[in-house]
Amino acid sequence: MSETPTLELRNLEVAYTVRGIDRQVLRDVSFSIAPGEAYGFVGESGCGKSTAAFAAMRYLPRNGKITGGSILFEGNNIVDMSDGQVSDLRRSAISMVYQNPATALNPTIRVGDQVAEVFQLNGVSKSDALAMAEQALTRVQIADPIQVLRRYAHQLSGGMAQRVVIAMALASNPRLLVMDEPTTGLDATVEAEVLDLVRELRRDTGTAVLFISHNLGVIRHMCDRVGVLYAGALVEQGATADLFNNPSHPYTVGLLRCIPRGGLHKSTDRLDTIPGTPPALGTKFDGCVFAARCALAEDKCQSSQPQMVTIKGNHVARCFLSDKASSLPRSAEQIEFASQSATTAHEVGETLLNVSHLSKVFTQDGHQVRVINDVSLTLGVGETLGLVGESGSGKTTIAKLVLGLTAPEEGGVVSLDGKGLAKTLNRRDVHDVGAMQIVFQNPDQALNRRHSVTRIVGRAVERLRSFSVSESIDRAHELLSGMRVEATLHSARPVQLSGGLKQRVAISRAFAGAPQIVVCDEPTSALDVSVQAAILNLLVDLQKQDKTSFIFISHDLGVVRYISDRIAVLYLGRVVEFGSSQRVFNGPFHPYTEALLSSVPNFDGSIRKRIPLTGVVPSPSNPPSGCVLNPRCPRKAGSGYETLCETEEPNLTEVEPGHFMRCHIPVAKLKQLQS
């Protein structure tokens, strides 16, 4: 262990100046990354992960500053270096990749010139640099590098753009690579590919990596060691397996329990939450940073700060009671539920919504693009239907068709309670409109920021139930309190609320008209896991109480599995599999579902064999002939059905009672292939 670490942070303190006052973000953060090691950072939004990452690059926002400690790169303190020296380091030894690759590339310069720039900075001539850029793209497994070099950023898909950014970061053969949420926002299948790539490259190059993700599954698969940040302080650190198997800080324990992990289902398990919210930026603490939310907190936790204690080997936790962490009591709601669940078993009632033969054609640059193709689904009273599929598969469009926000093509029918609904919203009556509501991913955009929370919900009540103004205000208060938005916040405006609270307001509004069906389009994707757990619990409660049905869209398969009774898997606007949550997740699988499921990094650490989907999602304007999956299908080759797959589109057929699939291979054969 005498080797100099590639990166070492020693007692690092960082503050942001807001309105003239320095507010501390990082508190006494110390850790080190050995050459070739992958170190992961986890923690809720705002705990300072990105700040630490950018500090390591010495690239803080204009109002950020290092107020103490040091950052050593191979033993040299970069805090004291001149700008020129830091630029030299960035040119030759440390690189960074961060979220949102599309904006990380300059929109007006060709991709090739941007990659070549890195080589040019190191003194290579322009023409040599371009040749090297081509190699760099080949290295990140871009199929047609010469072509890609000539493109602009907007002509690349998200996964491709991230490959280019990674190519650029690796171009200088860095000894340290900082990755801040490099796959957040990418599709599960694309994410899996990018992660595979990073792992391979790391094996070849031995680059040390600082890897940040809010996704614990990703961290578990990518990192040798993990650090948990809370309120800017490192609260636990250890080898990945140790930390995940034996979390020893109450915050880590809570975080892991919030996740709807494999096998949990709403009918039997309630998700844990972490009560309260993270402290505001710059809060000062006399005691433990987590004391306000910790169920184990004792008097001394409030008054004195715990030091790191060793759990085992290099596994450390900053807690007075680390040996009791695993017995952290489950959150209070949990107990309440346990007594309830015995009496109200979950059951699905008769069919409420019937969607048949929905199609949607958009005209794009003069082409006809069939984004939804003959989709038929049913939804029962009190049932949750999950919609999953890669981006562009048509999930949101189906939701819009059902809600009447866009009209289906001739022949498509949406009927509620056996009664056919008008195609578009403006031709539906108040009752039909109120019967179906939607909750969006981003509550910021969905809520009018000038109105108070009560007004936002009250107006919806007024409109949908023709209540008087005072009645609707009363009802709004009732709804908000039911969603656990405290009375003191009812006059607040959306900007004053956290993301989770805003989403609760949006849900309250959706429930204003006592809806029969609520469509939830990625309702928790922008939220932290602890907040997500609380929202999911809330939705489950509402369903139990009012027999509300949900159509639930999410790219997070764990969430969909937890909350759904039945699941429809979509590919290129078609339902390729439809069945109970149980069936879809346990198999036999449709080949596409199989690949999709295998791309999810499992957070319990179990290794699942990846069934890769080759190539990219084809454009719906020019779908492949035969089965639309056939150019990418992992099961087609050697199945004996190749010609059929390439020439004829399979029908959605019932392969087992209540389990539908669109595949030429008989289910028994699939089962055999998949075992």
Binding site: R90, R91, S92, T103, A104, L105, N106, P107, L121, Y152
Partner: protein, 318 residues
């Protein structure tokens, strides 16, 4: 791309045509007996009839419009009622003079304003930023002709640095001297437009400075200066170009005011004369020409914008 240009060109032609029709009807519907005005009280009925016949005012309105447009298309701008000569003889030299002034002003205003905006953005929050932004906006509040008068009185009369007329004397009309005389009028335009253009340039640069791709550039190891010149300016100046084009109408408006103060025989001075004398033919042509210039610049700006922006370039060439 070709198609895009053709489409924009078509739209421009339609715009100018509509302007022409509107102007025609406005000038013909305005109250007042034109012939009587020109010929005075003493004119006989025959004189009036003769005047109307000469200027085509006796024909039905629609055929007047038709003839006027047909003449316009053939380059015939009509006959000035005031001077009884072809409008073209009057307007063309004036346009030449105005173009010179506009050209000098443009070459002064655009680089200085953009430079100011870039400097302000790079020093955001510092004193120099405040001087540029606040100063620029305050200067823009005061109209051109007031600036023109102030400049004439101070720099011209009191300090005698610049000449107080915009037009050199006979026999001394070398290019440099002409430009020299046009500096002061241009500065009064600069003072008014600087604030707007600098502000847009500043906003564009700040947005680009804060962009992820700028961060990428710096994290690649480019020095700040190099990152700014290579990655920021092009992206930042795109919106600025569009704004400059949209300022052309103001430039023309300002030009007229400044020409009058500096007693410069340009387009504005002629137009003002035409308004005073109700010389419709000159007015109509003047408006058409102004709209041609404005639409033309908008077109150039749009094409430039598309050329510099790959996203639009690709979209329009699809």
């Amino acid at each position: 791309m070709k198609q895009y240009i053709l489409k924009r060109l078509g739209l421009s032609v339609i715009t100018v045509f509509l302007v022409a029709v509107i102007v025609f009807f406005l000038t013909h519907i305005l109250p007042g007996n034109v012939a009587r005005q020109y010929l005075g009280r003493g004119a006989t009925e025959e004189d009036l009839v003769e005047f109307r016949r000469v200027f085509g005012l006796d024909k039905p309105l629609l055929s007047q419009l038709f003839i006027w447009i047909k003449d316009l298309l053939q380059g015939d701008l009509g006959t000035s009622m005031q001077y009884r000569g072809p409008v073209a003889d009057l307007l063309l030299p004036a346009i030449g003079y105005s173009s010179k002034l506009a050209g000098v002003a443009f070459f002064l205003i655009v680089p200085i304003s953009i430079f100011g905006g870039v400097i302000a953005a790079m020093n955001r929050g510092k004193k120099i930023d405040r001087v540029i932004t606040v100063g620029g906006l305050s200067a823009a509040v005061i109209p051109e002709f007031v600036w023109a008068i102030v400049l004439v009185l101070t720099v011209g009369v009191t300090f005698q640095i610049f000449p107080v007329t915009a037009f050199p004397e006979e026999g001394n009309r070398g290019v440099l001297n002409q430009i020299w005389h046009l500096i002061l009028p241009s500065i009064s335009l600069l003072l008014v437009l600087f604030g707007y253009i600098a502000r847009i340039a500043r906003a564009g640069v700040i947005e680009a400075l804060e962009s992820d791709y700028m961060r990428t550039a710096v994290l690649k190891g480019l020095s700040r200066k190099k990152a700014v010149t290579k990655h920021v300016l092009r992206n930042a100046l795109l919106p600025t170009i569009a704004v400059i084009a949209s300022q052309v109408p103001y430039l023309i408006g300002g030009l007229i005011a400044v020409e009058i103060v500096f007693n410069y025989p340009g387009f504005g001075t002629i137009l003002k004369g035409a308004v005073d004398a109700r010389d419709y033919a000159v007015l109509q042509s003047g408006v058409i020409i102004s709209s041609l210039v404005i639409v033309g610049f908008q077109l150039i700006a749009d094409i430039l914008f598309a050329l510099l922006n790959p996203r639009i370039r690709q979209k329009v060439s699809e």
